[in-house]
Structure formats: structure tokens, C-alpha cells
Amino acid sequence: MNHSHRVFLLLPSLIFWSCRAGAGDGPKPLVLINASEPASLDLHQVTGQPEIRVIGALFEGLVLRGLKSPQVRPGAARSWEVSADGRNYTFHLRPNHWSNGTPLTSRDFLASWRRFSNPTTGSEYSTLLKIIHNANAIREKKLPPDSLGIAAPDDSTFTVNLDFPVAFFLDLCAFEPFFPVPVDTIAKYGDHWTTPDHLVGNGAFVMKGWKRNVAIDLEKNPYYWDSANVKQAKVKVLPVEDQLTAWNMFLSGEADWIFSVPTSKLDAAKKMPEFFNKPMFGTYYYLVNCKNPGYDNANLRKALSYAIDRKKIVDRVLKNINTPATGFVPPTPSYPGVSMELYDPVKAKEFLVKAGYSAGKQPPGLQILYNTAESHRDIAQVVQQMWKETLGLDAELVNYEWKVYLENTKNLNYRSVARASWIGDFSDPISFLELYTTEDGNNRAGYSDPEYDKLIKSTWTMSDAGLRLATLRQAEARLMEGMPVIPIYYYALNEMRNPKLQDADPNPLGMYSWKDVHLAQ
């Protein structure tokens, strides 16, 4: 009796164990967790991190991101030259193949970039092309896509004609939307070209299977030009939306690599050797609606900003994994940017008085609008208390879910303050500073400063890199004077990694070089 009782208790765990065995054929794949299922793998249709992460493994651009240094490395192009005025690039392609064995030539790049620029493709990133000759006219449907300033004089040469001599053009070439797409396959299968049966790429990996919301299976691409140096044989990408589930999967060994750590687990994570933390080219900030009465006054905006103790937020709410903001653009080695102390309660009170709010007078409708997320809520609550304690102002918290938040901030349909964030598309300060020029489509503060616009505009035509960066710095300082944005902290990558993971250094944008990433055997 007693004995059978014990067997009965053991039975469930026996079933568990017997089911778990037998899942080990071939080399162990690298299992990484994507925050969501890729919406598409058509690199001209996507904007999100989860999509770009997979696309980066399946395709390769003319150049590759540096592994240990910020400089780009040769990719599909063996070498390149830049004309003296910085406006003409000539790329020399190496012999490349698509993953189905057909050769990849400069004509593929030609067709791909034309597709990218074509407004009927509907690529949301196509505004990035604007530095290339005629791209703006093509987007506005004034010229056909084949008038884009690019050419393929022969199979191995690809030339680009820029309107502006920008130094970050090569960084753009290493960015996924600038990668080539298999135009023949697309012509054949239309919208279904990204299924595992049809997808053809030129990256270090090929897609073996894609089961929606289950996994994307990647395998080393034998046709890849540098496949001899690709050390990881298999990669498995799992879409897991719940951060806590992803964290648990890492702890249980079901995943080797997760790209976010839930705030509630940061204390524990920081003590673990698997924790990986690195500053990133992104800023978390508050927008002020400069079009609304009261908030059109820079003094009030500055009062609000100087009253926020960023160090305390970073220390206490974010567990010190981020850096308090000292300007709008996150500092990089090439651009140290504006670095000023943004917290000063004395100054905050002075500015509030200057703005005309003394003796308990409240600015009209002070709100913090944020999109629904626990971390945004926590920060908003802390800021709310700081404004109360330092300035005596009562702010109301309003939260909207993502799409409503986007719509309201885009249409400047918010009372006063809204949470925002920006991660640079390429590691140049312009990708931040351009946002608050009067005409920019992403200027969600309604900010307009002709002097600032002029400064930013002048940088486009500067071929002297030093002068250009100095001008950008000047512009950033001016932005901090106007304070349409209240920077709070700079983003950082917070990951958990299997200690065996190697050559997985991210660039400042948080992108990896997929051909190098591997698990040590």
C-alpha cells in the first residue's frame, strides 16, 4: 500500500522526464528570444527590431558592421572608393551567390534599391534614402524609381551618387533596408516570397523553417561567401512576448539569449554573470507640446526639466543599468555631444517664477501622457512626485495604449507632456537632431525654431567632418535651451546571455554581426 502510494507520486515526474529526453540531434542550436513574431521578413516592409534581427541573419549588405570597432567592414562589396567631394561612392562587389546558388551581381543591388525607393513598395524607411540623388522626387512620385542616383556599370561595380556628402552613408549601407532582395523570387511569388520554401537570401544563414509564433529555424548558408568563417551551424529564433516568460525560459535553459530583462528581475539579474549591459544609441525623454498655451513658454519647459532628478530615477527605478541623460543625443566616441547637468532644483524654481507661475499658480492642464507599460508608469509616477515636491505642481497621469498614443502624439493631441523615446537608425547625431526641425514628420513636440532649422540644414552640405560635428553640437545646445524635449536617460542593452556566447558584441544601435555570433562548443 505504502509502496504503491509512492510510485503514484513519482509517476508524473517520470512522465515529465521521459518526454523531455530525446530532443538532441545534431549540434545544439543557438536559441534566442525575439520580443515578437516578425510581422514580415520583407526588408522593405519592416521597421521593428524583431524583424530586423532575423533579416540581418538572412541577408547581407554592401558592407558589414564592425565587430569590435565602429568602422564598417567589407561585406558583399570587396572594396569601395569615395570621390573627393564625398558625393560619389563606387563599390566593387566580390563574387557573391544567393542561397539558391544563382550569382548575385550589382544589378541585384540596383533593382533592390529601386524597389526600396519606389513609393508603391510602401517602405516606411524609404525616407532614409533622401541623401541619394532624386530619391525625394521618386518618393513624391515626380520621377520613376529608375532615376534614382545609382548605377551598375558592370556586374561587379555599383555606384551611388549622393546629393549630400554625408559621412554616415556607409553606416546606412550596413543597415538592413539597404540590403539586396531577390527580385526574381519576388516577381515569381509576390507577397509569399518570404515563406521558408521561397525565401532566398545572401546572408550567413538560410531559413529552414518558419512556424508562426513557434520558431524560425536558421541554418548556415553554404553559398555564403564567407561560410568558412561562420561558426554557428543552427540558430532558433523564438517569439516570446511576455518578458517574464522569456526570463523564465532563460533561467530554465530553454533559451541562450534574451534581449530584455523585466524590471522586477533586474536586481537578481545584475548579480548573475550572464547579465550583459552596454550603453546604446537611444534616449528616453519627455516631449512638451510647444503649441499649447503655457507650454509654448521655454521657461516653463525648463522648469519642468530641471526639476527631474535623473540620477535618482536611474539609481532607484532602473537599478543603475542606464545612464542619466546629460543632453538629447547619447554620447558616442565620435560625438561627445552636449553634456550638462539637467537636474537643478534651484534653477527649476527660478524658471518657474520666470514663466509666471509663482505662489502656487498651476500651469494649465499639466499631464504626463505615456503608453501603457509598467516601466513608463513607474517613471511617470516618480516624475509626478518630483514636480510636486520641487515645484509644487500637480501633474495628472494619463495612459493610452500604443496606437492611440501614437496617433495623439503625432497630431499634437496631448495637453502638455508626453513620454517618448528614440533610437538612432544610424550612429550619427543627425538621426536625433533632425527630429525637432520644423518640418520633420516625427516632430511630435510641435517645436519650431528657425535658427535651429538653419543650423541643422547647414550640416547637410558640410564636407568637413569636424566642422559638421561642431555645428551639430551647437544645434543640440540650442535645443537644450529651447527644451521642447526633456531627456531623462540614455538607453542601454540589457541582455542575458549563455556564457558560451561569443563574438556577439553589439554596435551602439544594438545590432549584431550575425556571421560572427556563435556558441562555443
Binding site: 508524473p12 515526474s13 512522465i15 515529465f16 522526464w17 518526454c19 523531455r20 513574431e37 510581422a39 514580415s40 521578413l41 520583407d42 516592409q45 521597421t47 513609393p119 508603391t120 513598395t121 510602401g122 517602405s123 516606411e124 524607411y125 524609404s126 525616407t127 518618393r139 513624391e140 512620385k141 507577397d191 509569399h192 516570397w193 518570404t194 515563406t195 512556424k211 508562426r212 509564433n213 513557434v214 523564438l238 517569439p239 516570446v240 512576448e241 511576455d242 517574464l244 516568460t245 523564465n248 525560459m249 533561467l251 530554465s252 530553454e254 495604449e401 500604443w402 496606437k403 492611440v404 501614437l406 496617433e407 503625432k410 537608425d425 514628420g441 516625427n442
Partner: protein, 306 residues
């Protein structure tokens, strides 16, 4: 009770009414979705007006186009948020998973609920009854997202008996099914216990026992058959609630079922997908209600199909 023409005709009328209901539901959902604030193609990086125009040209549809597409071509259109897939493809992958999850949970809930209900009714006043009642109460009061996380913490992280997430092989299915079914085990236990207690005191049970019929036969043939009505009545609403429960369970255990689309599609303003999901759920609920009513007429011949 059996399939006489009148009975079949009633079923046909119910079916026709269901189709009508479904069309009303589609229209209603369409209206509500269109009125909801937020645009489907709005992203953090503002797309240019030309791109937006292109996307709308490709994906937009009107009410009549949509209804015609569904009724005559079975075309639920392309999803907005999974751009290279049609709604039919997405649902075809996800529905079986949710059905499997829901089915296991329902079966376990009914079997365990009836067993607990019967035992607690038979052993009235003993410690076992107290235990069952406490369990039933806790099952009702503990939100399933807490339960799911707790099970994950204990069984997956502490004792390493089951994987945290996924839906392949029994080991990955036990925790989610348990999480989903617990509330319903509790509800069915309560309902069944009440019904069993009521019937145990009835004369026919006493008569059957007095006749010397074996206890098992008494319970099986007489008691169960007469007491099961409230449980069957509860099944249709239970299934509807289980469908909602899958939202939570699928999120916590990362199961590739329909539940995630239910929320996600509305959040993303993926109108075609949201409508598709609503239609599937509604068809399911409507058929289930009809089925429950049909089953009832078999269990209790006095009940008529309306």
C-alpha cells in the same frame, strides 16, 4: 425526443437564426473596429504620406467588400500586422492549438469536477468535504495569471519538471492545461455537489438502494443521469470563459494559439485579423449553444428544443 421531422425542422430554424446572428455580429464588430481610435499603419517612425497612401490602397476594404468576400469566397483578407499572410492562414495554424488546449482543460474540468462533487456529496461532513470546498473556493478566487506564474515558478524553475513555455509534447502541455482548468474544476465541483446533494435525498435513490442495487449502479445509472443537467447547462458558458482564459494562459506559456491574436489584433488595429478571430469565436459559441441544447433534449426528454 429522437430525430422526427419536427425536431429536425427546429434545428434548421436555429441554424438559420445563427447565420443571421453571425451577420449581425460581423456588422457590429466592423462598425466598432472602424470607430476605434488609432490607425493601423501608424508606427513610431512616421511613414511618409505617399507610403501611407500606398498601404491604404493595398489593404483597405469597405464593409460590403468584406461581407461579400467572406460569404462568397471565404476570403478573410490579408492581415495588417502579419503582412504576408492571410487571416485564413493565420487562423488555420492557431485554432487547432487553442482547441486542443481548451478541450483538454474542459475534459479535465468536467471529470475532476464531477468526481470531486460526487465524493464531497457522498462523504458529507468529513474532512474530505471541507478540503474539496476549500479547494473549490480558492480555485474560484485565484486569478489564473497568478496560478500560471506560480506553477511555472515551482514546476519549471524550482523542480525542473516541465519546460517554461511551448506547446509540443505532453510535458509542455500539462502546466497550461492545469492553469486553465483549475477555475472550472472549482466551478463544476460546486455545481455538481449541489446537484448531487439535492438528488441523493430524493425518493428514487432511496428506492434503488432499498431494492439492493449495487451502489455503483445506483450512482451511475440513477444519480449521475439525474444530476448532470446543471453541469451540462454550465458547459456552454464554461467554454466561453475557457476561450477567454486561453488569452492569459497562451500569453504566460507562450502557446501559439488564437488567444494572443484576440488582444494583439485589436491592439495593432489589425482589422481583418480581429474580425476573423471574432467570427471564429462567435461561430464556435453559437454552435456550442445549439449543441448544448440538443444534448439537453437527449438527457432530459421533457426539455424541448426552442
Amino acid at each position: 425526443m429522437t430525430f422526427n421531422p419536427a425536431y429536425l425542422r427546429r434545428i434548421a430554424v436555429r441554424l438559420a437564426l445563427n447565420v443571421f446572428t453571425l451577420i449581425v455580429i460581423i456588422s457590429l464588430s466592423f462598425l466598432i473596429m472602424k470607430a476605434a481610435p488609432g490607425k493601423p499603419f501608424q508606427t513610431e517612425r512616421n511613414p511618409s504620406p505617399q507610403v501611407l497612401e500606398e498601404l491604404h490602397r493595398k489593404y483597405d476594404f469597405t464593409y460590403s467588400q468584406y461581407l461579400k468576400g467572406i460569404l462568397f469566397h471565404g476570403d478573410f483578407r490579408y492581415s495588417y500586422s502579419h503582412r504576408s499572410s492571410t487571416v485564413v492562414e493565420i487562423i488555420a495554424e492557431a485554432l487547432p492549438v487553442s482547441l486542443e488546449l481548451g478541450w483538454y482543460a474542459l475534459v479535465i474540468a468536467v471529470v475532476a469536477g464531477l468526481a470531486f462533487g460526487l465524493l464531497s456529496a457522498l462523504y458529507r461532513g468529513r474532512w474530505f468535504e471541507g478540503f474539496v470546498l476549500a479547494f473549490a473556493m480558492i480555485g474560484i478566487a485565484v486569478p489564473n495569471f497568478v496560478l500560471g506564474s506560480l506553477l511555472q515558478l515551482c514546476f519549471s524553475l524550482q523542480w525542473r519538471m516541465a519546460p517554461v513555455a511551448g506547446w509540443n509534447g505532453i510535458d509542455s502541455k500539462i502546466l497550461p492545461v492545469l492553469t486553465l482548468s483549475l477555475t472550472f474544476i472549482a466551478y463544476i465541483t460546486r455545481i455538481a455537489r449541489g446537484s448531487f446533494l439535492e438528488n441523493l435525498n430524493k425518493d428514487y435513490i432511496r428506492t434503488a438502494r432499498a431494492k439492493g442495487l449495487p451502489e455503483f449502479r445506483v450512482l451511475w445509472k440513477h444519480l449521475l443521469r439525474n444530476s448532470i443537467l446543471p453541469v451540462i447547462n454550465y458547459l456552454a458558458p464554461a467554454t466561453a470563459y475557457i476561450l477567454t482564459g486561453t488569452l492569459v494562459v497562451e500569453k504566460i506559456f507562450n502557446i501559439p494559439g488564437m488567444g494572443r491574436y484576440f488582444i494583439e489584433s485589436v491592439f495593432q488595429r489589425d482589422f481583418p485579423l480581429a474580425l476573423g478571430v471574432i467570427i471564429i469565436y462567435s461561430v464556435f459559441l453559437l454552435s456550442l449553444n445549439l449543441l448544448a441544447d440538443i444534448v439537453l433534449t437527449f438527457v432530459d426528454p421533457r426539455i424541448q428544443l426552442q
